[in-house]
């Protein structure tokens, strides 16, 4: 068997199990099926092309998610989405105590439908939406998210915390708005 085929086999074995996750993430970033498909396709082709440069033994999932994210950032939708972020990471507040003022949380969650949570997620700026999705949906560690997004772990923690707080606020508004 040739080296090229071995490499292609290995890539397929590593990449295809992540197909659903990559597509879901891409759809959350782009917002449309067409753009998500384009993004995933671009990701797979770029990843396959650059697979020889992938360092064996390192985190493939973070590597390919990072390719997808970078491809998104250079896309038309990505370029439009990123500048809308109101602040950047360096001066973000440090991780503080979990918010307790947003109570009763259990009641809020019971009232919130899945659609409402999804709508709130959609409203989050991309840099917050992506860390929440990578952490809570993809079960990535902070380290993996740091590699994927290309920011320090402290920034990941900060963004994650702020994203979750923003989500609760958005959801609260939705739930209270629908109750009034």
């Amino acid at each position: 068997m040739s080296t090229a085929q071995t490499s292609a086999d290995q890539f397929e074995q590593l990449a295809m199990p992540l197909f659903d996750s990559l597509y879901n993430f891409a759809h959350w970033l782009t917002g449309t099926r067409e753009e998500a498909e384009e993004l995933v396709q671009e990701t797979y082709l770029k990843a396959l092309k650059g697979f020889s440069g992938f360092e064996q033994g390192t985190n493939f999932r973070a590597w390919i998610f990072r390719i997808l994210r970078n491809a998104f950032l250079t896309s038309r939708t990505g370029l439009k989405a990123m500048p809308t972020v109101p602040f950047d990471v360096a001066d973000e507040e440090t991780v503080t105590a979990a918010v307790s003022e947003e109570t009763p949380e259990s009641l809020l969650l019971r009232r919130a439908s899945q659609d409402a949570i999804q709508a709130a997620l959609e409203q989050l700026p991309v840099i917050f939406r992506e860390v929440v999705l990578l952490c809570d949906v993809e079960d990535m560690s902070y380290e993996e998210i740091s590699q994927t997004v290309g920011v320090p772990i402290g920034t990941v923690m900060s963004r994650l915390h702020r994203a979750r707080r923003a989500l609760r606020q958005l959801l609260q508004e939705k739930v209270h708005g629908s109750c009034q």
Partner: protein
């Protein structure tokens, strides 16, 4: 450790990002602290709710197939080997072409040799011709009913050639005409056969000049007939007679 410090670790505890030691310590604390325990439970519920809501989009089956096809090693292997296949195909074509060419060359050479044999054998025979006449209007009609075609013979006035006569000849089991011409002290045979597919394959080019055992041969195809002019005469003489025959054939 104050409650605030514990609370600051709840989020990382839920995300399983604390060190093993801190995870154990936090687990113990949560058993004792109702406030932190409630906080951790709520964050866990949030995490689960987001996980469920976040798994929202699924790829279309067709899209999955497309990507699978694009990265499949088999597909890629086909592309990887495509230049090799192309080279192999070119090689096969070249070899086949060379084989066809060499076969054709070999076959035409063999046919020319046969014609030379007939020419030599006929000249050595006690009666080299079956119809003896220098008049083309006598010789040509003699072939009627003997060969499945007709032909025109040239007027030889003002040429060095003399028609000696004609006889039947066979090539590839096909009957043909053999005409004997004399030029100075040399004898030249002109063979005319139907240009059968086999002959056409053997002589892929329309006009052929060949030298077999020092016999010079001119051959061409016209109006469905294959002509051979051969003899031990000067090639110029043979070419000249061939030109006269071509001219007559086209007239």
């Amino acid at each position: 450790m104050t409650t605030d410090i514990w609370r600051s670790k709840v989020e990382r505890y839920i995300d399983a990002e604390l060190s093993d030691e801190d995870m154990r310590a936090m687990s113990e604390h949560l058993r004792e602290c109702a406030s932190c325990s409630s906080d951790a439970l709520q964050q866990l519920q949030w995490k689960r709710a987001i996980r469920i809501a976040g798994q929202r989009y699924g790829p279309a089956a067709e899209f999955r197939r497309r990507i699978n096809h694009q990265i499949s090693p088999q597909t890629r292997l086909a592309w990887y080997w495509k230049p090799a296949f192309a080279l192999a195909a070119v090689a096969v074509i070249l070899v086949a072409g060379w084989f066809a060419y060499s076969t054709s060359q070999g076959r035409s050479q063999q046919l020319c040799s046969e014609l030379v044999d007939i020419h030599v054998a006929d000249l050595a025979a006690s009666t080299p011709v079956e119809v003896v006449s220098s008049d083309r209007h006598t010789v040509k009609p003699w072939f009627q009913g003997k060969v499945p075609f007709t032909f025109d013979l040239p007027e030889l006035e003002n040429s060095p050639f003399t028609l000696a006569g004609g006889r039947l000849a066979y090539l590839n089991h096909e009957p043909g005409s053999e005409l004997i011409y004399d030029v100075r002290r040399h004898h030249i045979s002109v063979f005319i056969f139907r240009d059968t597919p086999e002959l056409a394959r053997s002589f892929s080019s329309k006009d052929v000049s060949r030298d077999v055992l020092k016999f010079y041969i001119e051959s061409w195809s016209a109006h469905g007939l294959r002509y051979f002019v051969l003899g031990d005469a000067n090639p110029t003489d043979i070419q000249q007679l061939a030109a006269l025959l071509k001219q007559a054939g086209n007239g």
